[in-house]
Each structure stands twice: as structure tokens, then as C-alpha cells.
């Protein structure tokens, strides 16, 4: 019988720590059918804007919709690629420059599936999840982040 998958919380308050990433990796060492892990990490850049320099991004989300959509994306990616595991974490609230705001983690028997699934997940997360980044500037101004 296949395990029924349910929406999981993807949101983390504040930055995602390197220790959390290490724990997540370590937790997969007992899964001895995994041959490759692919990880993507989004990090806050100190971009120079006409209005000032970015010092942090404050993330908000339409959480219930984002979780529903993340579940839908998750199911579609599991359907498309032979993955062993898939994890998505996104920050809410303030994340400072240099800190990590997105952690996508896919694992599979052979490397290609993990890599392709990870790439596709990142694209879909950025395009389809109702999350907004407010870029806080060193001038007390802010601008709304735009995904290109």
C-alpha cells in the first residue's frame, strides 16, 4: 500500500541555518537506496538599488494557499521523477543578507532524477507559491522584490 502524502509545513521563521541543513542531510544516511542528493539554497544578496542597499528581506506569504500549492507541486514532481525524498523549506519574516531563505532538497537512486527534480522545484516555487519579499534598504526605505 502506498503511503498517503499530506501537506507539510514548508515555512521556517527567520533564516535557515547551516546546522538545519546538516541535520537534514544526516537524517538521510539511514536511507541506503539513495545514491545522490541535490540541494539548492537561496541566499539574500546585498543588491544595490537606486533607493539604497539591501540589508534584509522580510518575507510574507498567503500561507494556507502556499501550503496547498506546495503540496500540489510536490505530488507532481514525485509523479514525474523517481525520487526517494523531497524537502522544501522557505523563510518567513526577516532574513539578513548572507543568510539562507530557501532550502530545496531532493534525493534519488541515480543522480539525474534528483538534479532535474531540484531544478524544476526551484523554478516552480519561485513562480507559483504566493510568497512576497520586501527588500529592506539601508536608507530606511524598502522596495518589493521582483522575481525575473
Amino acid at each position: 500500500m502506498e503511503k498517503e502524502r499530506k501537506p507539510k509545513n514548508i515555512f521556517v521563521q527567520g533564516a535557515i541555518s547551516p546546522e538545519k541543513i546538516a541535520h537534514s542531510i544526516a537524517a538521510h544516511q539511514s536511507k541506503t537506496d539513495i545514491g545522490g542528493h541535490s540541494i539548492f539554497l537561496g541566499q539574500i544578496r546585498a543588491d544595490e538599488k537606486p533607493e539604497g542597499k539591501v540589508i534584509a528581506i522580510d518575507y510574507t506569504a498567503y500561507e494556507e494557499m502556499a501550503l496547498e500549492k506546495a503540496f500540489e507541486i510536490r505530488e507532481a514532481i514525485f509523479e514525474k521523477y523517481p525520487l526517494t525524498c523531497m524537502h522544501i523549506y522557505h523563510s518567513l519574516g526577516e532574513v539578513k543578507v548572507g543568510e539562507i531563505c530557501l532550502f530545496v532538497f531532493t534525493s534519488s537512486k541515480h543522480r539525474k532524477a534528483a538534479m532535474q527534480a531540484c531544478d524544476e522545484l526551484v523554478e516552480r516555487i519561485k513562480a507559483e507559491l504566493p510568497i512576497w519579499g520586501k527588500e529592506i534598504l539601508d536608507t530606511d526605505n524598502h522596495v518589493w522584490k521582483v522575481n525575473v
Binding site: A61, A127, W132
Partner: protein, 79 residues
């Protein structure tokens, strides 16, 4: 029979409205709702945003039946 609808607002739309939620009399459809919002908040006219009904983005004019969850969503910028 008119009824009140509850609207959630996010990102720069919430900023323009000055709140992350508002209530108004149901104008009946998503297009009518937009016109009503533009009248009430002229700043929204120059802004790109979409409507979601019950957490699904709508692509064309849609009836707003009672009890629907309505949200105003500017372009996503997660990640």
C-alpha cells in the same frame, strides 16, 4: 440579497490599501470587485495583481458566491 465579503491582501497591495484585510459588500463578480477596489484605492490601478478565490488563481471574470475566500495577490517573489 447583498452580503459582506472578506478580502485578504498581501505584499504591495496590502501596503497600498493600508491593511492586510478588508470587508465590502459583494459586488457579485471578480471584475466588479476590481472596479470597486480601483474606485476605493486609486493606487491599485497602476499595480499588477491577481485574484484568488478559495486559494485558486482566477484567469477570467468569475462570479463571487457567498462564503468564498477572496485574496488580492501581487506578483510572487519568493525564493
Amino acid at each position: 440579497m447583498p452580503h459582506t465579503i472578506h478580502i485578504k491582501a498581501f505584499g504591495m497591495v496590502a501596503e497600498t490599501i493600508g491593511s492586510d484585510s478588508l470587508e465590502m459588500e459583494n459586488p457579485g463578480s471578480s471584475e466588479a470587485l476590481k472596479q470597486q477596489l480601483f474606485k476605493q484605492f486609486p493606487g491599485l490601478k497602476s499595480m499588477k495583481f491577481s485574484l484568488a478565490l478559495d486559494k485558486k488563481m482566477i484567469q477570467s471574470d468569475t462570479d463571487i458566491s457567498q462564503g468564498k475566500e477572496i485574496a488580492l495577490l501581487p506578483p510572487f517573489s519568493g525564493g
